[in-house]
């Protein structure tokens, strides 16, 4: 197949909150089977891009397609890891149950989760090293463990494309390792993963491609070619300090 449909195709997409544009004319086609970092300063519209793609926010213009079709027809192909702070972790439920929630969409209106779904959820928890916490009340998990539960929930969806909103923020080393491990495994299975990411120092290590975002798409493509000082200056404006000799970049927020 030479003319493969891209996993994610964004055509001229704009999004606005209360008339204020937060994303302008984004056009992008993603490669398949890669781990793609979405990079940009705070308020650049990184989470907004994911939410708009998943139909959680209305588009002010443009079109999004997943493997050539609108998202509403391709829900089963997409896994979503929202920001950890987006939910109430005091909710009376345990880790296994949260992972099971990832399968509710596939269960349709009336079916209930059965033991096969539980097995799938447990398997997902095992992949992130959380199987021994399956019955733990979620408020008793650490921040990193909660993040891994969210990751497991997306894995249980057995999707083709994953969108992860800042999975690395505020997690411990064990969780970071677990997430990186999962990213590798997903890539081996030829799945496409989008990750909103903040830490510029790990970008080259984690991602094959990047999208540099600041209201507009500044640049996109393979990390080696696109993740350059020049592009970063354009993305972050004057808020970026670059240490010339070490080639290390620090973002200043």
């Amino acid at each position: 197949m030479t003319n493969k449909t891209p996993p994610l195709s964004i055509e001229n997409v704009s999004v606005a909150y209360h008339r204020k544009p937060v994303l302008r004319n984004i056009t992008y086609q993603s490669p398949e089977g890669e781990c793609i970092g979405i990079i940009g300063p705070n308020g650049a519209g990184k989470s907004t891009l994911i939410k708009a793609t998943l139909g959680l926010l209305p588009l002010a213009g443009g079109e999004v397609s997943i493997y050539g079709k609108p998202y509403s027809q391709q829900r089963k192909l997409v896994g979503y890891v929202p920001q950890r702070e987006s939910v109430d972790w005091d909710f009376p439920t345990n880790a296994l149950d949260v992972v099971l929630m990832g399968l509710y969409g596939q269960l349709g209106w009336f079916r209930r989760p059965k033991s096969e779904h539980k097995d799938r959820a447990l398997e997902a928890l095992r992949k992130v090293g959380m199987e021994s916490f399956a019955k733990r009340q979620i408020s008793q998990l650490s921040g990193g463990q909660q993040q891994r539960v969210f990751l497991a929930r997306a894995l249980a969806q057995e999707a083709q494309i994953y969108f992860m909103d800042e999975p690395f923020v505020g997690v411990d080393a064990a969780t970071e390792k677990a997430i990186v491990q999962v990213l590798h495994e997903l890539k081996e299975q030829n799945k496409t993963v989008f990750v909103v990411h903040h830490d510029l120092q790990t970008v080259s290590e984690y991602f094959d491609s990047v999208m540099l975002l600041n209201l507009r798409l500044i640049a996109s493509g393979p990390t080696r070619e696109v993740f350059t000082t020049e592009n970063l200056q354009k993305t972050y404006g004057g808020r970026l300090a670059i240490l010339p000799h070490t080639n290390e970049m620090l973002s200043i927020r």
């Binding site: 979503y80 987006s86 009376p92 439920t93 345990n94 509710y104």
Partner: protein, 292 residues
Amino acid sequence: MSSVWIILTGALIASSCAFLGCFLILRRMAMLGDAISHSILPGIVIAFLVSGSRDPLPMFIGAAVFGLLCTIIIQLLRNQGVQADAAMSVSFTALFAIGIILISLFTQQVDLDLDCVLYGEIAYVPYDTWTWNGIDMGPRAMWGAGAAFLLSLIMVRLFYKQFKLTSFDPALAMAVGVPVAFFHYLLMGLVSVTTVASFESVGAILVVAMLIVPAATAYLLTERLGVMLGLSVLIGMICSVCGYFLSVLLDASIAGCMTMVAGGLFALAFLFSPHQGVVTRWWIRKKLRTQF
């Protein structure tokens, strides 16, 4: 016999309110119950004026329409950037005021006592019976409360996973294709129906207590949603039974006593709940300290 009817009606009301109240609490919408319970007043009055009777059906419809209307207005205001609590207060007080004006305007034609609407009188429940095919079926309020309870039970049982997911993580629910807005309004509709089934007995104000207090108590006692739902119903029933006997003992308002019992149970759970109780935690800390 009449005390059995009163307790049974109270238990049905308390359980159906408690049941739905669990979801209101988990969605941080406790005060929305308050809003709905007040905003149904004009619906009840209009239904009463139009139908000229106190049949439950027109009342249900009128109340459900206004309950939903209230939630829709709140949602619209919020979407326009009005703060959540302000949006809520503005809409329900306005609707409630319309209800009060209607009652005072048509007070000659209608046999709808404002005190009764506000505070309810469960003691009269046994005297307003429902006759079906010439057979006395027992108090009408009990049947209304029972129907509301059954309806909520069926709906929550059918859509348990949707209610759970939309309460915990609405963003994921939307992403996997669960119609979040539909379940929001379904819950609000159920709250409206339950509220109207209850208001005659416990009044528009104390129904808030029944919606929130047993559910809040259950929340303190468990860490599982299914258990929380069951516990809240149990607590609702205890409130009804103990509340009734307390009122006999004190010769005081039954609805007031039921709410007092609910408040007492909440206080107990707050102090002694196995995980979060204030006294329990103090006790655990003390024990740990003496170990070292």
